[in-house]
């Protein structure tokens, strides 16, 4: 399937781009992370510690074991610091 993958804050800076469109057969967020990690060092560095990351699928916060199903957009970012 085709996914828009978005990166924010230091995840965006570490990977070096804010979004990209990818083709993937990943079944879960964790599978997608494995694919991304395998690509290049900068991805491996960004995804080194999942405890320091949060993920949203189709703009809803979820967990790394969530299924991707028919997702269109997955976003990775550090814990939020609004307010």
């Amino acid at each position: 399937m085709t996914l828009d993958v978005l990166y924010f804050a230091w995840v965006r800076e570490r990977i070096g781009l804010p979004r990209e469109r990818i083709e993937t057969d990943a079944a879960t967020v964790a599978d997608l992370v494995e694919e991304l990690r395998a690509r290049e060092d900068r991805y491996a560095a960004a995804f080194a510690d999942l405890a320091a990351l949060r993920v949203a699928v189709d703009q809803d916060l979820t967990s790394f074991d969530a299924p991707l199903g028919a997702a269109r957009e997955v976003a990775f970012f550090p814990p939020m610091t609004g307010g």
């Binding site: 924010f8 804050a9 965006r12 916060l61 970012f77 814990p79 939020m80 610091t81 609004g82």
Partner: protein, 145 residues
């Protein structure tokens, strides 16, 4: 319920007056404003957000507050972009028949906005820039509700 995400500055006083104005069914209005605090050497703050998700996430939080407490209205305004020390980052306001609900709902909104709305703060100092780290206490605060 009024939720706004914007880069422009806003007039918190005018918002407070408009929010509470012209109604006689609320006895209590609480507002919270978050400002850019300079504890030394801060040049400015950059606030990044997730445009597709931000308003939706805040609306979800505001709706939850409206369900949990008897509220007349809820207002949330949150800025993104570059903000100088002293600038107002955001405000929430709650109106309720009674005081406790207005206070608790405002406190709840702030706890959830801080940890569940997709904003990230970067502090740009004379000697470099750092993303603000989330505090364990902020996440733990959600357990209060």
């Amino acid at each position: 319920m009024d939720v706004r995400v914007q880069s422009d500055a806003f007039d918190a006083g005018a918002e407070l007056n408009a929010f509470a104005g012209g109604r006689d069914d609320v006895g209590a209005v609480v507002s919270f404003s978050g400002l850019v605090r300079d504890d030394g050497g801060l040049r400015h703050m950059e606030i990044e957000h997730y445009p597709g998700m931000t308003a939706k996430a805040i609306e979800g939080i505001a709706r939850e507050a409206m369900e949990r407490w008897t509220l007349g209205d809820v207002l949330v305004i949150h800025r993104h972009g570059i903000l100088r020390p002293g600038a107002r980052i955001m405000m929430v306001a709650t109106a309720a028949p009674h005081r406790a609900a207005a206070f608790e709902a405002a406190d709840f909104l702030m706890d959830y906005l801080k940890s569940r709305a997709p904003f990230w703060k970067k502090e740009v100092r004379d000697d470099g820039a750092d993303w603000v780290a989330a505090k364990a206490a902020d996440e733990a605060a959600l357990g209060r509700w």
